[in-house]
């Protein structure tokens, strides 16, 4: 038998705490960062730099303050974009009964899947040399096939339920059916996927920056910082640890918040008095 669980007001607390720091820094950091000071030697500690100097001798703390916005914005928009395309594709795939339509939508995506995303970015970036927006598009593009497949697989079961038949019977619009019901049923899984995908996207952006795409390789961007300062990990750990911790906190916090929001609360009864769980008695 299940135990009763009291509604936990603190359910969101951990997630909120984790997310608040990085988000505040990301949003307000650029406002308080101030002017750059003189450069120090790369990867040095102290010297007026609270968190030391980074790989080109800039103040790490200042870079951290500056580096949240791009991370949050690029990664968020790329993920959102990926889902904005993947969702209709995957849901159409799940809801259609036309094999050719499903194949038409999904099989070309499989072709993209077969090319390692980094290679794809590398190649496409080298050919078109996109900017920040282009990069977000590119990263989104790389994520679409993947997300679409997950949407399709998750939605398939819900799409075949009698509830959908009933909606069809009512002449319900495709969107209501797909998003309102099927998507709603798959929400938890999709949220889980989107939550982790966001982190993947973050580092894909950083790697792309390293390959010379989109963000400048010395940009103030947490993920780029982690990547570029890693050579100094043992001499000047802060340049890696600070941004990495912020990213970890952001990812963890965001996902825990999502979890909390989707917790199937109230599935269990709330007792006034001790819950009359059936007393189990051994046969005499």
């Amino acid at each position: 038998m299940r135990f009763p669980v009291r509604a936990r007001p603190g359910r969101f607390l951990l997630g909120l705490l984790l997310v608040a720091g990085p988000l505040l820094i990301a949003l307000l950091g650029p406002l308080v960062a101030g002017e750059p000071g003189p450069r120090a030697a790369s990867f040095t500690l102290g010297g007026g730099h609270g968190a030391g100097a980074d790989f080109v001798g800039r103040d790490v703390w200042r870079q951290v303050l500056l580096g949240g916005r791009t991370v949050v914005l690029t990664a968020l928009s790329a993920t959102a974009l990926a889902y904005a395309v993947a969702l209709p594709l995957g849901l159409t795939g799940a809801l259609t009964h036309r094999r050719w339509l499903e194949d038409l939508l999904m099989r070309p995506l499989d072709v993209l899947l077969a090319i390692p995303s980094l290679l794809l970015i590398l190649l496409v970036a080298a050919v078109f040399s996109p900017g920040t927006v282009g990069l977000a598009l590119l990263v989104a593009l790389v994520n679409i096939p993947d997300a679409a497949r997950i949407v399709r697989a998750t939605a398939a079961e819900a799409a075949a339920r009698p509830a959908v038949e009933a909606l069809r019977m009512q002449g319900e619009s495709w969107w209501r059916m797909a998003v309102g019901y099927v998507g709603r049923s798959a929400l938890r899984t999709l949220a889980a996927d989107a939550g982790t995908r966001l982190t993947g996207v973050l580092y894909l952006v950083a790697t792309a920056a390293f390959l010379g795409v989109g963000v400048a390789p010395d940009a103030a961007d947490w993920a780029v910082m982690v990547d570029r300062n890693r050579t100094g990990l043992f001499v000047q750990p802060w340049a890696v640890v600070l941004p990495a911790v912020l990213i970890v906190a952001l990812t963890m916090g965001g996902n825990l918040l999502l979890d909390a929001a989707l917790t199937s609360r109230g599935r269990r009864p709330t007792p006034l008095r001790p819950l009359p769980r059936p007393r189990k008695e051994h046969p005499a």
Partner: protein, 489 residues
């Protein structure tokens, strides 16, 4: 010359296997010494093969397989006597082998790297005078012909050799044992080596492109020698007693190359302004993590014929501003091409961008593909990150600064400069020639296209028990990666 200062003293001990890990290479690497391209290739080639000459620590040519060389008075005919040496299969190293090797390198159907260096030689006319004497006929007087013999990749292979995958035969200090492309190459001591057999029994080259992998395998005792470490790693481990850090000074020139025939750098005042923009100390500290020396806009610090009498340039933004104003280039915007092709490039570009801002110049850093970077810098753009490994100053001139140089990245086309170069090549007297080089360098110092801001150390790590590693030899010189002199304590 022998190893320039072995780490630790004591008498060499014979025996043992040394594992050396290098960057570069991959599944495509070959043991064909003429295809040598990367440091890893060069180190392997050096273990298996010999050149006629090689560079000393100051980049002067030192005889190797050549016992001696003698030019004629016109400096266009050189008689090279070979020393008595044998290939690993027992065949002697002959004049014919030398000619075969050079002709192979010069084969127009192949694109061997040393072909450009051998260009002065008229190989059709050159011939073997006897089995151990070659007479090289040159297309023009070349006083520095020994530099040609020491050129990167100009290895001597047995006559007829063309397949180096299976069992390459050379005359080098080690014999071939096994080769797995992209993984490891094993060689063993050649007891018959003409320069005295190596101390080591065996030597294994391992490829690891990731620097941290190289350091970790060294720290973990999986290799005894790790090539190409970063300054940061060096700082982390220097003097900690775990591993030995070896810094090979003056190994790589770090520069920005300005196209002297394109606006805005076609105005020498702009070039000078840029010379004055650079805060070299900050660049070395920031981009090289302090592992290097500042440069003075000239190639070859510490090398033979280097003009070290010129005053060190220091940053002077005001003067730079002034010069730019005079040149009508206020509010200048330039694009700086860089790429992750060499350590410190992107870092230096970012730092220089900020320094330029102080003088009112807006520099935009553009990061290009590292695979094609060098070819791109040759023709495109106006300002680019640049680097060069060690080579004699004369070679630097001939390869990069003459009108017909093949890799003239600064587009430095000056007939009078070419003439000076020819004059030096026709000057037999060393001091007189040095004076000509001095004039050439002064010219470059004043208005050249290379903003040479530093010279990076080449950093190696070795295990504590490795002895005999040269400390003073810039990368690519004779004593660099010279494992026949290395021994394990």
């Amino acid at each position: 010359g022998g190893p320039g200062g072995a780490a630790g003293g004591g008498t060499p001990r014979r025996g043992g296997t040394l594992r050396a890990v290098f960057a570069g290479g991959g599944a495509s690497e070959t043991l064909d010494p003429h295809r040598t391209n990367l440091f890893a290739d060069a180190a392997r080639a050096k273990a298996l093969f010999d050149k006629l000459a090689d560079y000393g620590n100051d980049l002067s040519a030192q005889p190797r397989l050549a016992a001696s060389w003698e030019p004629n008075d016109g400096l266009d005919r050189w008689r090279v006597k070979l020393r008595k040496a044998t290939f690993h299969d027992g065949r002697p190293v002959t004049a014919d082998a030398v000619l075969y090797s050079y002709r192979r390198i010069a084969d127009p159907k192949e694109g061997f790297r040393a072909k450009a260096s051998l260009e002065p030689i008229d190989l059709k006319a050159s011939r073997a005078l006897d089995s151990r004497t070659v007479e090289f006929v040159l297309k023009r007087p070349t006083a520095e012909f020994p530099n040609v013999l020491a050129a990167f990749g100009a290895y001597i292979v047995p006559e007829g050799a063309h397949d180096f995958d299976r069992k390459p035969v050379g005359s080098g200090p080690f014999r071939f044992v096994s080769f797995r492309p992209g993984r490891s190459t094993v060689v063993e001591r050649n007891d018959a080596y003409w320069d005295g057999p190596p101390h080591l029994d065996r030597l294994e080259f391992i490829v690891a492109n990731e620097e941290s992998a190289r350091v970790n395998s060294l720290l973990g005792g999986q290799v005894e020698y790790a090539h190409e470490l970063t300054p940061t790693t060096a700082r982390a481990h220097e003097g900690k007693g775990q591993i030995e850090i070896v810094r090979l000074r003056n190994s790589a020139m770090q520069a920005f190359a300005m196209k002297t025939d394109r606006a805005p750098f076609d105005d020498k005042r702009v070039r000078e302004a840029f010379f004055l923009i650079a805060d070299r100390k900050e660049l070395v500290a920031g981009a090289l993590s302090g592992a290097g020396e500042i440069g003075n806009d000239l190639f070859g610090k510490g090398y033979e014929n280097y003009a070290d009498d010129l005053p060190q340039r220091v940053q002077d933004p005001d003067k730079a501003r002034h010069l730019l104003k005079k040149a009508g280039a206020e509010n200048l915007r330039v694009t700086l091409d860089t790429s992750d092709v060499a350590a410190g490039f992107t870092e230096a570009a970012a730092i220089f961008r900020d320094q330029a801002a102080e003088a009112g110049v807006r520099v935009t850093v553009r990061t290009g593909s590292k695979d094609t970077y060098w070819a791109d810098t040759l023709d495109s753009g106006t300002l680019a990150s640049y680097r060069s490994g060690a080579m004699p100053i004369e070679s630097h001139f001939s390869q990069r600064l003459l009108t017909d140089s093949t890799t003239n990245a600064t587009h430095w086309h000056h007939k009078d400069f070419d003439a000076l170069y020819q004059q030096a090549q026709s000057t037999k007297d060393d001091t007189a020639r040095a004076a000509v080089y001095g004039r050439m360098q002064r010219r470059l110092y004043a208005e050249g296209g290379f903003l040479v801001w530093g010279f990076a150390d080449w950093i190696l790590g070795t295990a504590q028990n490795v002895r005999g590693v040269a400390h003073g030899a810039p990368a690519n010189t004779l004593d660099w990666a010279r494992f026949d002199k290395v021994w394990l304590a």
